[in-house]
Amino acid sequence: MNEEELLKRSAAERDRIFSCYDRGREGAEIDPWEDPAYEVYHTTDRYGFIHDKRLPQKMDQNEIKTQFVEMERLKKWHKMTKNWETVATTEKLRRRIYKGIPDRFRGQVWVLLLGIHKLKSENIGKYEEMLRLARQWSTEIRQIDADVARQYRDHINYRERYSLKQRSMFYVLAAYSMYNMEVGYCQGMSVLAGLLLLYMDEEEAFWGLSVLLTDKKYSMHGFYVDGFPKLNRYMEHHDKIMQRFLPKLKKRLDKCGCDSILYALKWFFVVFQERTPVSLGLRIWDIFLLDGDRVLPAIAYTIMKLHKRQLLTMDSLDEFCNYLQIKLEKDFGYDDDHVISAVERSMEELKRAKLEYPGPPLPHELPKQPIGTFKEPTFTSKVGRRADEFSEAQQVMRESLIQRRQTALIEDEGSEEHEDSATPTELSAASNRRMLGANNCVGVNSHGGSKFLFEAGDGGSSLSPQGSRRSLADTSVTSTADLSVFSSATRSQPLDNSLDTQSNASVASSSGSAGLQTPRAGSHQPSPDVVRIYVPYGGGPGYKDGLPRTLPRSLDTNKIRIKVQDPDQTPVVENLKPFALDSPEYELDIK
């Protein structure tokens, strides 16, 4: 197809999807699978969510109490919302919101907290204008359609394809993709729009979404914009909190390769929706809308703290993911009031440690253009073609993730020695010192020198003249992973499932003799991105019993120093012999 045809095709697709939503259900061609049949036994809860099981006929004591308390509060809330201007800043409002906004006031209060009335009256006609632009220009329609079709489908309002609220969700996201063209549409935003629409009308939800993204109190723009710059900052902050307050748990998670990005990305992007039960999720949104993004670290910390004991009984990534991503949503294990009180305590705790707020948004987390500025999309994005290369922002994200993993692994080792004394800063400094790919990694300074110098403590090594500069960052990660495999004999599950290790090639041997062998050059096809470094520690009996045992506390004898001095000549070190795990002493406990 030539360019004109491609453009035509994209425009036709957009028009077609738009017309589906414009028409609604009337006369629409809806595949049977797109529309759910109502099963009589489905029952809807008080928030409109439909459950697979019949809900209990009787409310339990807790529910009765909650409803009673809510009824009592209604009068107060009625009065408070009538006199919003005078109460808006008072401590009373804050206290009451932390106790939970009664569901029937939630919409009204959320609209007030987000300052939607003012925006709406200052921008009359803007929403319609954006929607018109979207019909003509939006390049995000296909993705929005795909996500609207599956967002909150267990809610009565979204259950039917092209239902009123589904249509609203589509229009709000389409219009917003034009209003903020730097973000456009990013997966996750359908959750925000979908939730707001449960409590307000279409145009209000549009302005609500806009406030969430670009008001400095929430600044979600930085989460969703290309490269996710704010995510990095928030995850680092979360890691710091974990290191400081839950070091044991952090160590366990790191050991199993459970990087915080696995659970915290979704937590932060959609503010704990779909990861906590509905009622708790709403309570979290109440305080989020009141206090803004500064509550995110405290909530994340609280979840980990409350579930620390259960989490510490787990020793595989599988279990952690299942618990944090699925189990907690089904059954959080604590009632909502308890959780919100715990969040308040966490905030105090973090405040004392000066860790309550990761700081205001950085310049690159904010919109560069004034919001609402229209710029014609490029040909590539019009026809939905993807970029071949990572953008600079994506590159930054990618590399900083690699660095984070590395730091985590080194902290894991380091913590063997300094469980409580080492601060995250010291440790990450240590990791930076050991980073091999210094000049490739964000925020790490290097000499940018001329030659790859390799000194191993007492392990053998082999150098081959292949490789590229790009391989350097990977090098460090791999070697770190390998080191950590060796420094932890109690680990029965190697690190393969950790995010970025390639430890599959470095299977630690459980037999003493093999463990002391120095790997030699082998014949396998060397990956240009892989460097294997084997660092044996001195001595060590054969481990036959699988019991925890003492290991060298210090890695002094195993130090590796690699200097990068010549970017054009980057030798790759390959670990050539596997550490076969074929002796029967290693047991695999498959859950």
Binding site: D154, V270, N504, Q525, L588, I590, K591
Partner: protein, 213 residues
């Protein structure tokens, strides 16, 4: 599910267990999460919520002599999340690149994923191409032959699958399991395509698989 494991080992025998890291890649809404859900839990949700970030699950399959445990990374499909993908395919021994047979663009996108894997992932990675939503045959746009020819050219495993009807879902994972190297006496041990070989201790059985029960 008859096509699942090929070997039934009586309780108590010793068998070899290999663990492999597998990543699912592909355009948004082609059915990556649904394939995983079908394979791991035998379920299908008509409205599988969109994956934000990534998800991790495991499942075990039995071959004649070995038990293969897959550590499955399910990724987000939107381009903006692409920058996270290398974290997941790094060190992966297998990948399933998924497209939707009712959408040509998703096939094109699958081919660019294949290219990226060939360039960036482990050289010995086993790649499978899955043409999903095969139950929607009346809306087919991508011809079977076209995809098969492409797969052959590039040395990929290829199957059309349906997470909805479970067609070929176990089969594609099983085919990957068969193709993955499981022995270390081949002389080129230590390559990054190698799975870890562990020994199943006596009496211990994989419990998550539909096999070996």
């Amino acid at each position: 599910m008859a096509s699942r494991g090929t070997a039934q080992r009586p309780n108590g025998t010793q068998g070899k267990i290999c663990q492999f890291k597998l990543v699912l890649l592909g355009e948004s809404a082609v059915g990556k999460s649904s394939l995983v859900l079908r394979f791991v839990k035998g379920q299908f949700h008509e409205y599988q919520e969109s994956t934000i970030g990534a998800a991790f699950l495991t499942q075990t399959v039995c071959l004649e002599e070995t038990t293969v445990k897959f550590e499955i990374w399910d990724t987000a499909g939107q381009e903006r999340y692409h920058s996270l993908a290398p974290m997941y395919y790094r060190g992966a021994q297998a990948a399933i690149v998924v497209y939707d047979i009712t959408n040509q663009d998703t096939f094109t996108r699958a081919t660019t994923w294949v290219k990226e894997l060939q360039r960036q992932a482990s050289p010995s990675i086993v790649i499978a191409l899955a043409g999903n939503k095969a139950d929607l045959g009346n809306k087919r746009v991508v011809e079977y032959e076209e995809a098969q020819a492409y797969a052959e050219e590039n040395g990929l495993l290829f199957m059309e699958t349906s997470a909805k009807t479970a067609m070929n879902v176990n089969d594609i994972f099983l085919a990957i399991a068969k193709k993955l190297p499981k022995n270390e006496q081949t002389g080129n041990a230590g390559t990054s395509g190698q799975g870890r070989r562990l020994v199943e201790s006596e009496g211990q059985k994989p419990t998550s698989g539909n096999c070996c029960k």
